[in-house]
Amino acid sequence: MSQLAIHISDKSYINPANNKTKQIIKDLKINLNNNEFVCLVGPSGCGKTTLLNILANLDTKFSGSIELQPKHAQPKVGYVFQNPRLLPWRTVRENIQLATTAKPETLEFLLDSMGLANEKDSFPEHLSLGMSRRVSIIRAFATDPDLLLMDEPFVSLDPPTARQARQLLIELWTTRAHKVLFVSHDLREAITLADRLIFLSSSPMTVISEVPVTIPRKDRNQEIKIEQFRQQLFIDHPEITELL
């Protein structure tokens, strides 16, 4: 059992056009419990992707700390980017194998469970966007990470495809649980997926409120319950209405 403590006291960048410093993240604290699925919700452009890049160690210019407790280690990260970012010159299977040392059986299981059994040897350019996104999700899961980051992985998919992908994601997550940070600006999507919602303000980004989602997982496919929860959310937390 482990916990992940994220504390970013300051992340700024200098605008090269006018040499002014802009603060993007200010005093942001998030704690993730074991196997918890957390959705970050906030207006677009508020710095969510910056936060994920910091967590993935792609951006190291910030002050703060990210550590797994109790062992005080850097978390190993699996990242599902907004674009699938697959290597177009490698097949689906090679793309996944390159990122992980997982056993072949695990890969087969993951590919099957995401409905890609027939596409193992295809090249990514021959897949639809929805399929490519699923491959990139498999790649992240296959690395067996301490923390899974997902940056709006279902954006710009048509609703049925997105719904199917969400369902597959949750099924996969139930069998192979991980701590997940899922970025979204679609509140319904966030409610469907998350154990807990974290609302973020923009410039500088900081946590406004945290709300646990109380709908049992088996009822999450009922649109009406999601909608009720959403309405109630606006009543209980009026501060979030202006974010969305």
Binding site: W89, L98, F123, E125, R139
Partner: protein, 250 residues
Amino acid sequence: MPFTFRPSVLALLSISLFLALWYGLAIYLNTITLPTPFVVANVLIDEINSGQLPYHLSKTLYRLLLSFSIAMLLGCAIGITLGRHKQLDCFFDNWLVIFLNVPALVTIILCYVWFGLVESAAILAVVINKLPNVIVTIREGTRALDKDLLDMAKCYRFSKSKTLRHVIWPQLHPFVMAATRSGLALIWKIVLVVEMLGRSDGMGYQLHLFFQLFDVASILAYTIAFVTLIQGIEILILKPLDKKAQRWRR
């Protein structure tokens, strides 16, 4: 597709037309400095049978392949390094410009003066002439690398060699092929000059000899042999390589 529109038929037609024009012009001018294709073909066969042409051609080919390989390997390594490190690039950019603009003849003469009329000086002269071109092409390719894929590789902790092999190299492939093609064309011209100035075998040496004898038929025969060989390299080696590397594209 009608018979006459097939690529192979078209190619045959165009080459026949070229030979016919050549033949007509040679007959019309009736001069010793433009022999007919038949005369040239005869000389070509004689030269092949005597073993002269294969010997000198193989010498030239050996120099071409050796200097080409050295220039490509070094050029790729330096090009990738410069493309990835901005400060290094700023510093060495001036050197590149200098080397790009030194005339080929100057490098050849200097190499022979400094290192003597030896094989290694000849190879070095060719490499120095070709290297800046490779570096510039590969550097452009490296600058255009997809940052998103590099971030992905970093995030999933790809090792350096893995990143090079699976992320960087496939993106550089078109640039490497461009450098290869322009390189072959450039290098074989320079090799001939190098041989003419300071070697006692190879195509360049032979051409120089024929020039002094005003033997145009032999010059043309050697040219045909060489052009055929380079075309062979293109069709048998480069095209299949290209095809294999492009199979992931839609």
